[in-house]
């Protein structure tokens, strides 16, 4: 039987040393490297001791998915293949996870939507699969451009949902993500989201851990449900039998099962706070004006704050790193001094602002916007303009030049 701890210090077939993850992420030397987001995904996977990766082409994740294929060819991944559709791929991922493998996949936009039936199945079956979501538009007419609407659909699947701002987040969180989602009291799938193109296709300096260190392997026998490999009891075991005979107690079983999934989401809090150093990050939360955002909108917010400073307007920032579990307590605390809470988003519905409104007292303080979608960029100037308008200050129209 695999014992995660006993392998630490030993080498895998590629000569990498299985390393205590905390030491690898926090103490090992880092090498600055200039990479695209897709290349960073590959580099993280090189160090992830991943058993099975299943790929399917859809922009903007195709490059990352193909690069991981190269890793497979080099011998870093146990198995790798291209599935026939995202629905099938997510089921193939489930099959591999049922069989006790550490599993990785990537998807985007319409792919996420096509695969959607799988996600509550994953969490109900307690499968700690990691899925990268490089967000893009989902509605007709087709768009391959960045748009975060699909995250709204993932929020109620019972998956852990994290939203990376930068390629550095991506690198660290892919590796740390397995540590959180594979905890026996959590053991849930993780949707690690980023804004497509903005993160995947731009180059950035990322500090990488040594390439000769890798995560300890996944131990499926610590799972909260039996691994389906005929190596553990009970042998009379179905994952997962129907509990829907028409009587109260069957319904209560299903209800308890659902509650247990969400209890596991809650339990991930403790581990996530440890690994990510909190579910949110804050700057200057004593300011009257506060930008609260996730993903790339955080970067745009930072730039807006710099521009506002030049004009003598002080503005704080809350970066939401983790959307599930929802950092309600942290957001209440961080926003308690704010008179105006600005929530810039890359989607048409403003789902993040809605979540924040439902969380804090005096929710009229939440200003949902500015919002862009369909691939539009969000110039920091429009955040500045929105804030100045809120403060009753004159601001130039940024829409165009007039007639």
């Amino acid at each position: 039987m695999a014992d995660t701890h006993s392998v630490i210090g030993t080498k895998n077939k590629k000569g990498q040393t299985f390393t205590d993850t905390w030491a690898m992420m926090n103490d090992a030397p880092r090498t600055p490297s200039f990479f695209t987001g897709s290349e960073v995904i590959k580099e993280a996977l090189r160090r992830a001791s991943c058993d099975v990766m299943i790929a399917y082409p859809i922009t903007p994740q195709s490059e990352a998915a193909a690069l991981i294929g190269e890793l497979f060819a080099e011998g870093y991944i146990g198995d790798y293949f291209r599935g026939e559709s995202e629905f099938a791929v997510m089921s193939q991922c489930a099959g591999a996870a049922f069989g006790g493998a550490r599993v990785f996949t990537t998807t985007a936009g319409p792919g996420t939507m096509r695969a959607m039936e799988n996600f509550p199945m994953w969490s109900g079956a307690r499968l700690p699969i990691q899925m990268i979501v490089t967000c893009r538009g989902i509605n007709s007419p087709l768009s391959i451009q960045p748009d975060t609407l699909e995250i709204a659909y993932l929020l109620n699947t019972g998956m852990l949902v994290w939203h990376a701002e930068t390629a550095q987040d991506f690198f660290d969180w892919i590796l740390k993500g397995y540590m959180v989602s594979e905890e026996p009291d959590v053991h849930l799938p993780l949707a690690l989201c980023c804004d497509g193109f903005f993160v995947t296709h731009t180059k950035d300096v990322v500090n990488l851990t040594p390439a000769d260190m890798c995560l300890p392997p996944y131990d499926p026998y610590r799972s909260p449900v039996p691994c389906m490999d005929m190596e553990c009891p009970p042998v009379r075991m179905m994952r997962d039998p129907f509990v829907m005979k028409s009587n109260y107690i069957s319904y209560a079983t299903h209800a308890s099962w659902q509650q247990e999934v969400w209890a596991a989401v809650e339990r991930s809090r403790k581990h996530t706070i440890k690994w990510l150093n909190g579910l949110i990050e804050t700057e200057n939360t004593d300011a009257e004006v506060l930008i609260v955002a996730s993903g790339t909108a955080v970067s745009q917010g930072r730039e807006a704050i710099r521009l506002l400073e030049d004009e003598g307007i002080r503005c704080g920032l809350v970066k939401i790193k983790v959307l599930r579990p929802w950092p309600g307590e942290e957001i209440r605390e961080a926003t308690k001094n704010a008179k105006h809470i600005i929530v810039p988003e890359f989607n048409v519905t403003g789902w993040l602002a809605k979540e924040i409104r439902a969380t804090i007292p005096n929710s009229e303080r939440v200003h949902s916007g500015p919002r862009v979608c369909g691939g539009m960029t969000m110039p920091p100037e429009i955040i500045v303009s929105e804030i100045k308008t809120l403060l009753g200050m004159r601001t130039m129209s940024l829409a165009g030049r007039g007639s």
């Binding site: 049922f98 799988n118 042998v235």
Partner: protein, 301 residues
């Protein structure tokens, strides 16, 4: 898992309900020549099920579970439908996840087991109804075959959606009047056995489950070929007596009537060249073993 590991902790043996004690004492895990003849003299790998009285599916389940060559290292994958009401009672690890994704689950599972247990036999067997195999899951059924995934697909063909109450399915006969086919089904029964052959299956059989010895033979062949060569497919007629208006005791006759040479479930078989070779090798080895045993017996006597 080796047969030796399927055992009850000694200090808690006495409190285990008897069906679990029987499972350890007299089930046929690890028995090399296990087969349908063990039914009645050994503990079956299936407990009481909740299918309708007389359902041929229950016969099929019993024959298949008695015939798997390596149940202690087999994982089964099911799909939504009547079969999924039986699977909780089956004493090999089995998976239900969604309706129609069984061959995708099995693809991932088989690959994970190959990565985790290199050099060891781990058989994967899919068992699903015709709606799951041919309609909602057809894409994943075929793609697994195209990719030459090394597992067996068994389809329980009852020619309709039974668990949801008798709706038209792709494997239903043309002209049959059913729910969602109010004027009779307008197109032919999908010819999945032929499609399976063209899609790369190395062993394809269509038959009924009227003869346990036949079921044993085709299940063993299908699993052995899938283990060594590539995908295999069995399409077994398990009529839904309820939906075709038969009584509990009429299932067997319905199958016998339908397997006549001119009928739609006449025995049909396809074996690829590499599979033929493998079957010949297995037969030769069996013959050798039997001869050796015979010699040993005569020496002893």
């Amino acid at each position: 898992m080796s047969k030796e590991r399927i055992k009850i902790s000694e200090d808690l043996y006495d409190i285990m309900p008897s069906d679990y004690q029987d499972l350890v004492k007299s089930a046929t895990y690890g028995k090399e020549d296990r087969g349908w003849k063990d039914i009645g003299n050994s503990k079956e790998l299936i407990e009481q099920h909740s299918l309708c009285a007389g359902c041929p599916e229950s016969m099929a389940f019993r024959y298949i579970l008695a015939s798997l060559p390596n149940p202690e290292d087999t994982v089964m994958v099911g799909s939504t439908g009547c079969t999924s009401l039986v699977f909780p009672m089956v004493a090999v690890h089995n998976i239900h996840s969604l309706f129609g994704n069984q061959n995708a689950i099995a693809s991932g599972l088989k690959r994970a087991l190959s990565v985790r247990f290199p050099g060891r036999t781990k058989d994967v067997v899919v068992l699903a109804g015709d709606g799951a195999t041919v309609d909602i899951g057809l894409d994943m059924t075929l793609q697994a075959w195209f990719r030459q995934e090394k597992f067996t697909t068994i389809c329980f063909d009852n020619e309709l959606y039974a668990n949801t109450g008798g709706q038209e399915s792709g494997l239903m006969q043309k002209g049959f009047v059913a729910k969602m086919a109010p004027v009779g089904k307008l197109f032919d029964k999908v010819r999945l056995p032929e499609i399976a052959r063209e899609s790369g299956c190395h062993y394809v059989v269509q038959c009924t489950v009227s003869k346990p010895s036949l079921v044993e033979k085709v299940v063993r062949n299908a699993v052995m070929i899938a283990r060594e060569i590539g995908p295999t497919y069995l399409q077994l007629y398990t009529p839904c007596i309820l939906e075709i208006g038969k009584n509990s005791m009429e299932g067997l006759q319905e199958m016998r009537d339908s397997e006549k040479p001119t009928e739609r479930f006449a025995y049909k078989e396809y074996v690829s060249e590499p599979a033929k070779q493998l079957l010949a090798e297995i037969a030769a080895k069996d013959k050798e073993k039997k001869a050796a045993a015979k010699q040993l017996a005569s020496q002893g006597a």
